[in-house]
Symmetry: D5
């Protein structure tokens, strides 16, 4: 079973059971964004987590197996720039605020990057009388460039 | 004076005075990332803020004027996908974690987007014995799609 | 049922019944462009609207379900620039009149954008003895950039 | 004098005089968006209009001459997809609402297009207690495909 | 029946009957290039023409129906620049002779375009002892830009 | 003197003298489109023609020299797809009518192409009470593929 | 039978019979590269040659028919730049040696091109004690640009 | 002196002296295509050859120096696909005949490539009463893939 | 059996038997990276190696046959720039360290390249108390440019 | 002084003094590839190293300053795929051997990447009677994906 079939099976089971990502995440003791990312095929699970996910969804070992495979990541983004408005906003943030963030990080940490591997991201709702807000917290290890 | 010349003038004055973005931001009562974004030409200042920035840097009215102009944003990203490793990581985060975030936001908020205009982003250092971490907090208003 | 299958089912039923978008829109009390956009899979309906649409077209709950899902939008435009002449004209309008509109909006409203989310668009026929005209009215909330 | 130099001269004079596009448009009896489009080098003026524009701005015959030339249009959009958020929203509107508009126009008018040449576009502010709105009215002749 | 299936059905029937585009065009009183364009799915027919085409080819109402639909045009050219040598030559003509034609048209007609909608194109063989020549005659209405 | 400088010199002299391409073409006994193409740097002249062109325009030997050089052609079209509406229409014609023309040419002439080298193109005004029309006549040798 | 199916049928038969392109070419009195090009669907055969090819391979009239059709050429190269190392080398040769060849051809022949239609290409093995060499001989008619 | 300036200096001197690539090549005992390639900045010379080239052209040591540098090759081809018709034909040959050549080479030599480094290319005029022909002979070492 | 089917068959058998690439490589006396490359369809095997691979995996002659075919290589990378983070890092290394490596190689070896054909690459784990490291050793013959 | 000017100054001084990267690297106790990378503007130096580099080359503090700045990396690669043959080979290695390396690394280390930041690369000459070889050793920390 490849990642595409796995994703379809999970989404169908999730819909049939009327579950949400945060329910599933709660059952398996992981965060909702990671759980969604893994079930959509962009991350890999340990065997233990894979067993838990398929238990919650009443799915078989082939799905659990597929969850543990290391995916070829990012294939959905095959046009380079995403058209979907929700996803495009991240591209726009990079476009408008990227240079300022880069400069500030270099001033604070020196030459290097924020890791996107040793990295976590969470999404929260922030209630606000003028309209609730989406709060996204990214947390990645700073990796300094080696000079050798 | 166009935005490009303004940026060069500001970076030269900032270097000559040995200032950092957070120093300037502190002087003008704004956040460091916004201050850097505006001085690099990707955002526009009010006249009052523009006067404060040029006062801190001992720069003239032509720079203040340029700071208030609405820029053609994102021109640095003319290749579509950024090559710089620090900036590329945001593209990679979109590529790997974007679909999971999108799905989770839709489940929590319905169909719509996180605004990148009614939006703030801050960067913090999180101390960690295994290596300090970069924490980026994005905060944007949720905008639901109108149905009419 | 995914959005692609939903769209095919709706187009087939609409053709079999000899309906037009404005007929369907009239039945469900929505505007024709939004109704077409939703049925073509680029917008999502509330459950109530989805029930009304499928009632008009004698379609089942799987179609109604699919209508309420938040789509991955804009996938038809995978080449970046549309070749279809009717659709290309919008790209050409952006290309020729975009900079003038941007400048005028900034002068009138300040730095920010016209929202494409808190947004409505209608199409009307304007009768004209030299040849009827297409009138497209876009109406989007102005969103000013936050400075923080 | 080429279009680029003409545009710089006009923008400098306009700024020095503290004029806005709607002021200039009022003086020359044209619409603001067209006036901005022409002064930014994306449209050409008649000799009479060119004389009026340069009279308002106290500019010379070389600017008037340049205003009458037929430009190579759309060169600013050399990356295909615009990064600037204000301009990108038009691309997003095409991406999300384009197919619905196309289908509706074909149903109403038959096979053909809305002209982007025999075309006018105006921008208005619509006051609204929840935040003012940008109203963009496009008006183009419907051109049916010839069958021969 | 979609345009792709329609095209396959027409090409198969045309081959089985040993017909050429000019034969079919003669039967239906239209020009050969338009007839081919329509049968290949890049143009739409009136119901009357659609009936005539399917009568010539002994095809059913589903094909006639599909012939009358307004197509999403130009989808074959999804790579931007065509590789096929016969089709590439048109791109090369645009590349080499385009600027000269543009300038000449503007001098003769003013700012505007040759319509590609109110437009006809015919292909003829010109006999020549050194090798016959392809003569392509394009005829499109000149559309002047509106100034408003 | 390179082609770019040559073009600027010719356009300036042409403007100063108030000439049009067809006037110059008449003086040198060539067609207007070819004359414009050559003066814009997309074709090369013989020495005799180059002398005639510079005589008409009172330009020096460096311009004549540059006119005879074989250009690196098509460099203006560096974005692949032209944004200028007048030039884009040729791309659109290729996109919509290209497949029909290709098929018709193969039926009439066999496998091969219309040459874009042994090729002439002329533009004429066709008067028409509903609006004058642009008539473009392309004439290229048919080149059959060799089989060896 | 389309070109893709034709190609699969030919490759399967060729493999089953243990033939090489030069064997088949020898049987039908054509060159090996042309024979391979035609059987891979990038060229068209005369009916006589098509009959000979299918006779050698024991294939039916549907394959012979498909061999005579004029293909939409170059579709395999849909990414613009080929990734396959053997094919990429031709792109690299164009990139490194193209300008020198162009200049030399113009000096020797004047403005024009080497035809890729009235064109033959052969591949030979050149034995060499340091490692055999691939010799590719291209032979195309020089086509001078018309000036009209 | 960089390669761009070197190229300009060489082309100016060559023109002033009325030399052709084959004259210069004859003086320095190299082939004309290589000589042109090197002088246009796409190859590097030994010091001895560089001295000979500058001697023929009466140019200084800075040009000789620049001739010996290893260039960043292929920068002229920055659009991916060349627009110039003479150069495009090589791309077209790759597109149409590439797969056949690849298959034939693999059958004859096994898996590997024709080197574009251990490689020579010559251009000759082949006289022909129907029009002279360009003969291009490429000769590259076959490099088999290592299996390890 | 084409390369895609071959790859699926091999991956399924490998998974069913619980083998790793280094186990298979050990059995057939080849290196693990080459073995994986060949089984994934990017390299070709000799008949002897193909027999050994299929023996280890209990697969048939059709798989062995497919293993010996020369593949159209690199087709997975059809977007130009890989999105997968593990694969992207090689692109990033080229982007950041490529110019330095190029310059150093030219200084040490002269004008030419490191072959990617007469080439081997191995991957090793380097144990390290701060976190194990991936060591990749590339070894390719230096190929000097011919001057002829 | 920006990175571009810094690079020119360093290359000019290095040439004037007849130094090689390994000489400079030896003087400053760093590796040659890193030294070249930093001097070409793709990496940043500490102040101490910057002082040493400028001391070796007799350059001023403005160069030292520029050496310490964090660069916008990878800007030379603005076409996406490099044309230069030496640099292209790294892209080809990614294209052909990338999937095999990815799979092998995942089998050995689990899901994650080889860091391109905590990363070193060295180039060595390996003498070989059949032609010397380029040996490139890459060494990067393995970074496992976090699951949270």
């Amino acid at each position: 079973m490849d990642k595409q079939a796995m994703k379809q099976a999970i989404l169908a089971a999730k819909k049939a059971k009327g579950l949400r990502w945060d329910h599933i995440a709660g059952e398996i003791n992981m965060s909702p964004v990671w759980t969604a990312t893994c079930c959509l095929g962009e991350a890999s699970a340990t065997e233990e987590i894979a067993q838990k996910i398929t238990a919650v969804l009443d799915l078989g070992d082939d799905v659990a197996d597929a969850l543990t495979e290391c995916p070829m990541k990012g294939q959905w983004l095959d046009r380079g720039i995403p058209n979907d408005p929700m996803l495009y906003r991240f591209y726009e943030i990079l476009s408008v605020f990227g240079p300022g963030i880069k400069d500030y990080v270099h001033e604070e940490f020196g030459d290097g990057i924020m890791s996107a591997i040793d990295f976590m991201v969470d999404v929260e709702r922030e209630e606000n009388p003028k309209g609730d807000r989406v709060k996204i917290v990214m947390n990645g290890k700073f990796l300094p460039y080696v000079r050798w």
